[in-house]
């Protein structure tokens, strides 16, 4: 039973399209994250939600809009896709209130290719 699952695993689409990536965690965590890993393999945080409230919003184009319907889900919608959006997107979750250690549990990633 996968702890953090994200769908789809692969996403190939044309420039200008709108797409969504879904993430669900069954660990009972209170915080969820979206990371972008670009071609240089750097893991860059994009957003974080704690109990459905946005707590981290890094400098990300407003074409990216996260939505958290409940604590167990954090979806990422991307409008007007651009070539530079091609990357692997990772969802993660953690129990933030457990302390500063903040061990995060990651999904397997969604590889987005914009053509």
């Amino acid at each position: 039973d996968t702890a953090v699952s994200q769908t789809p695993k692969y996403l190939v689409t044309q420039m200008g399209n709108d797409k969504s990536i879904k993430c669900e965690q069954n660990l009972g965590h209170d915080t969820m994250y979206w990371y972008k890993q670009d071609s240089k393999k750097f893991l860059k945080i994009m957003f974080s939600y704690n109990n459905k409230e946005l707590i981290i919003n890094e400098t990300v184009p407003n074409r990216f809009s996260p939505k958290s319907p409940d604590k167990a889900h954090l979806n990422l919608h991307i409008n007007s896709l651009e070539l530079g959006d091609s990357a692997v997107y990772f969802c993660a979750s953690s129990h933030l209130l457990a302390g500063a250690k903040n061990i995060q549990y990651f999904g397997a990633g969604t590889r987005l290719s914009v053509l």
Partner: protein, 114 residues
């Protein structure tokens, strides 16, 4: 400003030898340092952590050393095994440092040769 850096993008060692992966940070407010391991086509998984009040933490073949004065930590893997071949990310977190989020380094690709 990249607060966590792993200056070696890759490391290759022979099976049975020691692997040493390094990480430097700039923010003295970090409370915890964590190492994650990532295999291809999978997400990172937590490996080992160390509190900023300690200088060493050991878990089986994995030991993390922290030098606060130098703002430097290292992960030692002894003995290295081919299954350890992966990308290793150093991360730092702290409620005062970055509001609870983790800041990741660029990663070091470890290859353990049989």
């Amino acid at each position: 400003d990249q607060q966590v850096k792993q200056n070696s993008p890759s490391l290759s060692v022979q099976e049975g030898r020691i692997s040493i992966l390094n990480c430097d940070y700039t923010n003295s407010m970090f409370d915890y340092f964590l190492w994650y391991k990532k295999y291809p086509a999978e997400g990172p998984t937590f490996l080992i952590s160390i509190s900023s009040i300690k200088d060493k933490n050991e878990d089986g073949r994995f030991t993390v050393f922290l030098n606060k004065s130098a703002k430097h930590l290292s992960l030692h893997i002894v003995p290295s095994q081919p299954g350890d071949s992966a990308v290793y990310f150093c991360a730092a977190s702290g409620l005062r440092a970055n509001a609870g989020k983790s800041t990741f380094g660029d990663g070091t690709t470890l290859t353990v040769k049989p």
